[in-house]
Amino acid sequence: MSPRWLAGKVAAALLTFAFVLVFNFFLFRVMGDPTTQLARLPRATPQEIEKLRASYGLDKPITGQFVDYAGDTLRFDLGISQRTRRSVWTEIKDALPWTLLLVGTGTVLATLIGAWLGVIAATRRGKPADDGLLGFSLFTYAAPEYWIGIILILVFAVWLPVLPAGQQMTPGEDFSSWLAQAADVAEHLVLPATAMTLMLLGQYFLIMRSSMVDVLTEDFITVKRAIGLPWDRVVRRHAVPNALLPLVTLSAIQFGAVVGGAITIETIFSWPGLGELSFTAINAKDFPVLQGTFLIFSAGVILANLLADCLYFVLDPRVQAT
């Protein structure tokens, strides 16, 4: 990997991020004033509303606001949440680990299970097992992930109440040790992570399957088989690793969809991550938080794509950087 190529990629990523900044800012300034809500309070006079607008800096000319905004963002000052009055960065910092936990668990499980199922389907191509798995993955792709989540709640939290239906820990409990707390979180993670896994499963399965099918028809596999190696060793040692490559980069590229899924899944499970933070901010018209989460999501996806490019290059030096 030449430094020049890497520098080029990084520069492109930074440029994209800069566009996000500009876009983000103007988008939100066009939005309606949160202070119109105050007109409904019987005691807020027009003067008080004006004072409020000034305190949010909404009375400055727009270019002034942007300059302030750009400078602040680069210093990680993303403003103050209009709802909680804490810094947006604090809100994001508190929420991020929960989203990473959910998304990470879901992605890892989807990759592992998807790959495993993909291998099974590819090695039984054309047979009922293959068709069944194809149908299943198509169904989970077409089904809205929040609907799957609701059904999971219905089955596992209402009909057979074995798992909690929301939040990340049992409300009101004092935990005796961090292990007990971790166990409680794990219990609460099961349903949301399952929803997330099912949502992502289809894609991984399909990619792995077609990748495997391609690899299995390649010459070197036929050769290995011809010289008498046991079939499943051929599959496991030689076919699978080669088929895994596209899967790795898929994880990074899928990040955009993952973000979307995180928002809806966190919302229904009241999982306190970035998705839920965005959702409550939408309803409360909390612009600083919306701007901040949008920024973080975009930054995350840009980063993921950059990593995917690098990873792909590292894993398969045959690919020329275009």
């Binding site: 440029l15 994209t16 566009f19 996000v20 988008l27 939100f28 066009v30 939005m31 309606g32 198509l138 169904f139 792709y141 077409a142 089904a143 809205p144 929040y146 609907w147 799957i148 609701i150 059904i151 709640i153 219905l154 939290a157 209402v158 009909w159 239906a165 990040f255 955009g256 973000v259 979307g260 928002i263 809806t264 919302t267 229904i268 965005s278 959702f279 939408i282 309803n283 018209k285 919306l290 989460t293 949008f294 999501f297 975009s298 995350g300 996806v301 840009i302 794509n305």
Partner: protein
């Protein structure tokens, strides 16, 4: 793989028949749903979250409305938004891909950056932000989804145009003094249309899912019933906790089946178009 006509694919394979059949059913419901609905889907009653019965085949909602009627009427929104948004996305994507790919230079570079940007930005957060800005309504939803989904089509069209541009018949036309507009219209566009079409059908599936997700998050058209708003109402009124499976399962199932049927057809079209493409590129 032998070449088959579109008709063969649609009617000859069981995949095609199922896809076409389901889509046909949904189209029928979109048009006639409100006419055949047994009850007024907006009518509320005191019979809330009631189990399915002879009066209400799929039970009632948290406001006492008939779930089955709402389901039928909701078909229209999903289909209208799905197709309209995909159409906008197709037009935008095609335009950008065609112009950028054909003219190259700065136009292409700008369009390409634009495409890259839209491909990188996570779509649901972007749609949420736009929909929230513009007071949710049917038109807003269509516009927002259309405006955020065009980049994929643009990419594909551009790639195709790049190969076509260098082909012999285009060179000849230019040598004969044909204008750019003429070339685009008579040579390039017809050869990219099948590709655009196949891709757009898949975008319809994405658009339907997007509308449902936005509606579920509360950004749907407040004056209309859609499957997404049904799920939103069900969830926020505690239907899952109440065990009201008749309210919670059908809307999601309809979304899934509609998306499935469109996807199946989309993949079929792709299958049809791709071998030809490979041929052309050879």
């Amino acid at each position: 793989m032998t070449e088959r006509s579109v008709r063969d694919l649609l009617l000859g394979t069981w995949r095609g028949r199922i896809g076409l059949g389901m889509l046909g059913l949904f189209l029928f419901l979109a048009i006639f749903g409100s006419a055949i609905a047994p009850d007024n889907p907006d009518a509320s009653s005191l019979d809330i979250l009631a189990k399915p019965s002879t009066d209400h085949w799929l039970g009632t909602t948290e406001q006492g409305s008939d779930v089955f009627s709402q389901l039928l009427v909701g078909t229209r929104v999903s289909l209208v938004v799905g197709f309209a948004a995909a159409a906008i996305s197709a037009v935008l994507g095609a335009a950008v891909g065609l112009l950028g790919g054909y003219f190259g230079g700065w136009t292409d570079r700008i369009f390409d950056s634009l495409e890259n940007w839209f491909l990188v930005i996570p779509t649901l957060p972007l749609m949420i932000v736009l929909a929230r800005l513009l007071d949710p309504s049917l038109t807003v939803l269509i516009a927002v989804i259309g405006l955020t989904s065009w980049a994929g089509t643009g990419r594909i069209v551009r790639a195709q145009v790049l190969t076509l541009r260098e082909r012999a018949f285009v060179e000849r036309a230019r040598a004969l003094g044909a204008s750019d507009g003429y070339i685009i219209r008579t040579h390039i566009l017809p050869n990219t249309l099948p590709l655009i079409f196949a891709n757009t059908v898949l975008i319809v599936a994405v658009a339907i899912l997007s509308e449902a997700a936005l509606a579920f998050l509360g950004l749907g058209d407040p004056a209309r019933i859609s499957w997404g708003t049904m799920l939103e109402n069900a969830f926020s009124s505690g239907a899952p906790s109440a065990g009201a499976w008749w309210y919670v399962i059908p809307p999601g199932l309809c979304i899934t089946l509609l998306v499935l049927s469109v996807s199946i057809l989309g993949y079929l079209f792709e299958e049809y178009v791709n071998p030809r493409l490979r041929e052309q590129q050879a």
